[in-house]
Symmetry: D2
Subunit: 297 residues, 4 copies
């Protein structure tokens, strides 16, 4: 019986890379949080402290900043591929690279109704994400978003559920449904119009959330995922994680005031948590595509 080193990886998490494109007076901004992780024959770093195969995490960070200039960051999926390929191809002992990226959205400031050239406001809550893995088995790109906060004030039911001795929840046919969606989708190609696809995926999911008469958050997630997969044949898998952010009717009847779904207490905790994976029955193997590093993206 011996102790062995199993899965391991190391890298630099959360490098805050801001890239301004200023070739013309109308600037562009890309605001990223970049995590890199390397996989390979690093056992001696653990077992004996020998660092000769270890490219410092500081170097990984420098590379992320340098590539923001030399390769650009127009699409985070492409930028992540460039970084991952570099580490695998250019750094001899590295066998696999994992890049996780969060992108924070900005919108142009409006000045007298006109978009400003070089001033922005942070936009929305949602964060676009990408997770890229490159190793001997291939290249894997997972797109995604998180913290997309959605709420519908009707069109949501919950009834006909299983009941036991601890069940006190009443059935409802009209409730508020709110979530902070975490969605990830696996591409089967790296030849994708990344920036064109992203807003379409988001719009499809928002549309399903809005228009489906929801019988459960599970059903809503299924429809959101299938809408995306039916529209984009190069997406083989969608993973969804959705907290059910409860909005409880506030009991105003105690004060002789009628509350017909108008006044709610928005609860912090506990919350429901619904998770689902949708995949094509002919999806190619994911291998390490879903193996996270920091887990931020």
């Amino acid at each position: 019986m011996a102790i062995i080193l199993g899965d391991n990886q190391y890298g630099k998490a959360e490098s805050r890379v801001v890239r301004i494109v200023r070739d013309t007076a109308r600037h562009e901004i890309h605001d990223l949080n970049v995590t890199t992780a390397l996989r390979g024959p690093f056992a001696e770093a653990y077992l004996s402290g020998d660092q000769s195969n270890v490219l410092p995490t500081d170097t990984q960070k420098n590379t992320a900043y340098a590539f923001a200039k030399t390769k650009g960051v127009e699409a985070i999926e492409q930028y992540g591929l460039e970084l991952a390929r570099h580490f695998v191809n250019e750094t001899d002992p590295v066998e696999g690279a994992r890049i996780e990226i969060e992108e924070f959205a900005w919108e142009r400031a409006l000045v007298d109704g006109t978009e400003h050239d070089h001033t922005w406001l942070r936009k929305g809550q949602e964060v676009r994400t990408a997770a890229i893995t490159v190793d001997a088995t291939g290249e894997y790109v997972i797109g995604g978003l998180k913290d997309l906060v959605l709420l519908k004030s009707t069109g949501s039911e919950f009834a006909g559920f299983l009941s036991d001795e601890f069940t006190t929840l009443p059935e409802t046919h009209d409730r508020v449904m709110a979530t902070a969606l975490d969605a990830k989708w696996r591409f089967t190609s790296v030849d994708v119009e990344w920036n064109a696809v992203y807003p379409e995926i988001k719009a499809l999911m928002v549309k399903e959330f809005a228009t489906l008469q929801s019988l459960a958050l599970q059903q809503t997630l299924w429809h959101m995922g299938t809408a995306v997969m039916e529209a984009f044949p190069f997406i083989a898998e969608v993973r969804l994680k959705a907290p059910n952010k409860h909005h409880f009717d506030y009991d105003l009847g105690r004060f002789g005031i009628e509350n017909r779904g108008e006044v709610f207490f928005a609860s912090d905790r506990a919350y429901g948590l619904i998770e689902a994976t949708l995949l094509r029955d002919d999806a190619p193997p994911a291998n390490d595509a879903w193996r996270a590093s920091a887990g931020l993206a």
Copy 2:
């Protein structure tokens, strides 16, 4: 020499009140975080534990929810005034009330390009705030916003500053300037079109931030504040607090790569912090208008 009880107040902080208006198929949503605090002859609660003058904080919370239905929350300033007046006028021992409100913005989901009737996405980062005080000296309304995250990628300088033996900062005539603005403005009237004024104030501040060639964040704040006060004679005072969220040029020259204001490290801490109060020379007294409770709004 004796120990005496000085300023005191008590209340319920951060009641999360969500109000849906559903009189027609096109719903409206108001998403609030409400803090109430009462002032008055509560010394015995402290000195002897006698609660006979103390309206429970639970009751204050119930009132906030009840008023969301009976009075509505169309403008948080007005809703706050209703709450404050209620506590001062209807609850015998209460002499002063302080209401602090945060409002979280939502925008309608777009479905096939059309605004949806009952589905929303959380919008932006900024939070609209109001702080209302009612006491024997009168009624005071402070409007505001916080976490309005702004960035300009040029049009900002910092030079000609004082220098001592610990000064190493180089002068610059082109830098990124970014902040998360906290702005508060004191009204001299309670007869204001609250919801019309708010976006205009925000737009004026964004415009000044965008268009002024900034010599310092101090100067930018001054211009943002004066623009608001010149436009609205019923605003007597503006208080601004702005972190200077540093974006440092990443040194790519070490790798033979030119970085002309294109790649930045966005630093978390430390940050500059610039504060200013602007007021009219004939501003009426603020009395307790700025005395906070939870300090959230």
Copy 3:
């Protein structure tokens, strides 16, 4: 009618200064979050962008780090005084300085029951604070702590309170009382054994919280504050802010299970918020002692 610049200040917030004392093999650690702010004739920085009186916030940060070495940080109150005096006395235009410090506590790692020389674990939740103001009127030191999380599982009542049409809270003579205390105390001297006094103040407040049969959080705060002021004649004022972190009995009776104050739901929001100021009737004027900058300390 003109717009004038009122109160203003500027500085560097949240410099994370870690000081290791390593003169012997048994190291010491001081882990600080330092905010500095300067007050004086800085109007032109706002009005015209002229920075000639403005010592950069970067320089203030450098000074905080330099003084951590040259002056030491054995007591944050003393270190803050050194910094404040330096800015007021050594930097010509500066008229007032405000230093706010948070100190994070560490405890020595135990190795086989023995304290280790150079390894520590972060200790507790509570943060020791200091806020120092030096200006033409004198020197002011406010000590404090925040996020001291306390809970008692009995010995707390709440009854006999005022009731109105929105009051539904039942009276109780045995409840959980929990808070995250924010306490500040104003010294009337700068010749204090800072590090000896701090743990005694904390112990006194914890003792009162524990041993007093509480009739209300207000009464508990009063006893905590008076205990401190009676013990230390050089403390002229104590300010306390205490959220009432509600622990609600979970209704197990619905399942035929008796719950006699044994199982609670710990609620996040809303929470009660009780505030009090205690001061000596002969307290010297506070002047700007309580005027915050970042408000962290």
Copy 4:
């Protein structure tokens, strides 16, 4: 080609359960954050919205609170096993249950040097965790901790590493090493003295962190993990995740001040992130033991 439903689960996340044991005057406190998730034939909830197999998350929450009374929470591993077994054995369609628990530590208040019977202070930063899985393949318990913040001010080196064109990091033989450890350990038995083992595991890891002359954080993690596994034969696997919380020497030489590892800037981001799995070569299969729900524990 069809879209199919893959892995899925649903449950109630972050129920804040506080359990007071008050059978004698000397109370005990257990402060938990409990997540439950169920696995089984729930496809129809997704595909058609049919909830007939779905035990509401509200019921799961009720069960967590009820069991806190009827089963007790003396050891979170045991309490989690009770909950998981209940759902799998008592709720007909449920095939697998996942329970994730965080426990927040409290220490008794000291009053005049004596431990108080019913008053506590929140203790430390670290959170004890447990993740229990029960399904047709067996019962799995993973213990753990997170946010154990450790720092050593010497005894840490980093040198001899790989270098490329983006490498600028200097070698060092004396640096600060700090982390916020996330450690998980998989038991091969459910017949364990849970509460006796936990502090021993923690002490072993702290000892290795403190006493090993570190050549890299990787090596430190390896030694921490092997120390645990050598001491406890019923632990088959240890997973470690450790941010390298950088403390950078502040450059005081610019001011003519020597800084020999005494004054540091504690950086927020980016940070190194080192991960490792250690396992016995004869470890039984983990099956779904590591499949997370909320991922909090």
